[in-house]
Amino acid sequence: MQDPDVVIIGGGPAGLSAARRLAELGIRNVTVLEREAEAGGVPRHCGHLGFGWQSHRRIWSGPHFAAAMRRSVEGLDIRTGTSVLQIGEDGVLRIRDRSGLGEIAARRIMIATGTRETPRAPRFAGGSRPQGVMTTGALQQHVYLQGFRPFKAPVIVGTEWVSFSAILTCRHLGIRPVAMIEAQARTSAPWPGGPIARLIYGVPVLLNSRILEIRGKQQVEAVAIQSDGQRRELACDGVIFTGQFVPERAVFAEGPTIFTAGNVNAPLKTSGQCWHEGRAVAENIARSLA
């Protein structure tokens, strides 16, 4: 089999829009490698509205957006269940798929592996290790993809945009967050983040507050927080660590034939911006191949 012209690592908004754009530009020998069973990236599990406007002038849920993106690349070479393990010094990708290990080389590589939230451990949030501690992304998959309710009354750590996505996700299954806590003196998401949380969703926002300790044996039972200099306890049965995005760069390399697009490039962007960036980078790749 002939090497493809372009291999795209990651089938989220950035990777899929790039594949589509390359095809439009006449570069059809393109392969997308996606490790999940289905392409679409993070929007696959963002079950609430908030997708599609910047790309399609529609207001969709994440899964709807992901399905639209998948339709737009029908007929292209999208290989799911395929993980890239390493980008070799020689530029050859070490991969593994359902049949085992393999290699794939290409004239151009695009890295579009996205971003993930910082979980509990690297934040050094102390205490015991009960069930019920997760990131927003994990919560969304529990709630929207599996229909699981991992807790009933969690604390939300952080006040970024994604923290509000956590509130929406909770509401979907009747989970009622006890509080949002924010280490800074103001919410990270621009105004009116705080008032929206409080007034519309009834979730109190505790500023100047950080988590000291998680308690509980089987399931979370409480968190100890430092709030305005005072130590206090909040009874809860879960903790959602939101945001503090870090690029997913388990495989990463730099070089003249290697391009990146989407949220693997910080800072965080919306899915629509990633979709546009994928197209723009695809155009650069097409030019570099001409």
Binding site: S83, R96, D97, G100, P122, F124, S128, Q131, E213, A250
Partner: protein, 451 residues
């Protein structure tokens, strides 16, 4: 359900499991009673997973004898049980002139302990071995046979081998009381009563409480907590050997070591705590550990943290292990196995079997051993994802088949933590951002199918 046994072992930690294995392989009818939802839910859940030579153990101690016997048996059986070994060696590194002056005595003690290949190496040789170590390192004692193993697959393999030899393992079965009638023990557990001719107390951090079933406990357990910080996988190239400190009067100090799973970790601290059950971490200690790791290997400052954890050492007021038989009561005490039990477990089990023969009864003729290889989780050896299938946990490359296997068979995971220990699913750098819901769904499916 059969309810009378030759041997009841209280405690499903690495020590209890190794003892269960030894007696089951000797042809006795054995049961193990564990209070947790799964085995390895006590001290054996969180350790450094170093296979010790005993070079620095108290000379002439029972601990040293058990460690060395355990070390040898581990090497002898590991191929047949598919247990990994990462041959890292260890370096006791001197960071000050005073520490440097102590190295000759460390080497001399190692030799006294029979670990004769330990030698002192100079600054240049140390740099060649460990080029990423801080310039501040002045020299080291090299311990060539100090190695790294998998803290969970080893005891899991002992459990499976015991099961293959007819033993039973009962979880959610806390022993609450017992009475000896001159012939056998009647033990009451959270899941019903049973009879056993001989009872072995291997209850770890609850050892003194369980001991009180037989007699006023001659020892008291004060759990000694150890916290750890685990760095992301790129860190594993930065320290080849286990980097040990020169011990001081006050503390053994923290160790920088690779894990069998391909990470680099620092720990453990040593803090006396009241809590026997829950090992908690705290932020200031974790910050200090991370800072200490960066002092030792400056390049670690650029590498993220994957995990934090803590373990509780079953420490008693005595320095040595407490292993005794009470022949008039058919009771064997195995207590205070503080900080070397992973290494020593197989040796402890041999010692316990010998005590049994000397003071209680002869052992029947042993049947041919049945070998029960366990799945490999070590990063440096072949893993199932390489042969295809569906990967569920991307960071640790765990396949659906591996997870399903851990949820079925002779000793299915008893809880989510047990599943993690058997497969590593969700234990990588994303800590479940991508896969925890899929793993939770598989867990539920298996539990539903069983009930």
């Amino acid at each position: 359900m059969r309810n009378d046994f030759d041997i009841a072992v209280i405690g499903g930690g690495v020590v209890g499991l190794a003892i269960l294995r030894r007696f089951a392989m000797s042809g006795l009818r054995c049961v193990l009673l564990e209070r947790g939802a799964d085995i390895l839910s006590g001290a054996s859940k969180g350790n450094s997973a170093l296979l010790h030579t005993g070079f620095d153990a108290p000379t002439g101690s029972l601990e040293l004898a058990c460690m060395q016997a355990g070390y040898e048996e581990y090497l002898a059986i590991r191929d047949r049980l598919n247990l990994p070994l990462l041959e890292s060696a260890a370096l006791v590194v001197a960071w000050t002139e005073e520490e440097l002056a102590q190295l000759p005595e460390i080497v001399a003690k190692a030799h006294r302990n029979g670990v004769r290949d330990v030698e002192q190496i100079g600054r240049g040789a140390l740099r060649r071995r460990e080029p990423h170590l801080s310039e501040a390192a002045l020299g080291a004692a090299l311990v060539p046979r100090e190695h790294i193993i998998d803290p969970w697959s080893a005891p899991l393999a002992y459990a499976h081998q015991a099961l293959a030899h007819g033993a039973e393992i009962r979880r959610n079965s806390e022993v609450t009381s017992g009475a000896y009638d001159g012939e056998s023990w009647q033990l009451a557990t959270a899941a019903g009563n049973l009879r056993a001719r001989v009872t072995v107390n291997a209850a770890g951090n609850f050892g003194d409480l369980v001991e009180a079933i037989a007699r006023p406990s001659p020892f008291t357990i004060t759990p000694r907590r150890g916290q750890f910080v685990v760095f992301d996988k790129p860190a594993a190239t930065l320290a080849k050997a286990i980097i040990l400190p020169v011990p001081t009067e006050r503390t053994k100090g923290v160790v920088l070591f690779r894990t069998i799973f391909g990470n680099l970790a620092i720990g453990p601290t040593a803090e006396d705590v009241d809590e026997r059950d829950v090992a908690a971490c705290d932020q200031p200690t974790l910050e200090r550990l991370r800072a200490r790791a960066i002092e030792m290997v400056p390049e670690l400052s650029g590498i993220g943290v994957t995990a934090i954890y803590a373990g509780l050492r079953p420490a008693s007021e005595r320095k040595d292990y407490i292993i005794e038989a009470l022949p008039t009561q058919n009771w064997i005490t195995v207590g205070g196995i503080r900080s070397t039990g992973l290494t020593a477990a197989l040796g402890i089990a041999r010692h316990v079997a010998k005590l049994y023969e000397e003071t209680i009864d002869s052992l029947p003729k042993a049947p041919d051993p049945i070998w029960t290889p366990v799945p490999n989780l070590a990063e440096h050896l072949p893993r199932p994802y390489m042969d295809g299938g569906e990967v569920v946990c991307h960071c640790e490359l765990v396949t659906r088949q591996e997870i399903q296997a851990a949820l079925s068979g002779a000793l299915p995971a008893g809880d989510m933590n047990g599943l993690k220990r058997r497969t590593r699913a969700t234990m990588g750098r994303c800590q479940g951002f991508y896969c925890s819901a899929n793993v939770a769904a598989m867990y539920r499916e298996a539990v539903d199918a069983r009930s």
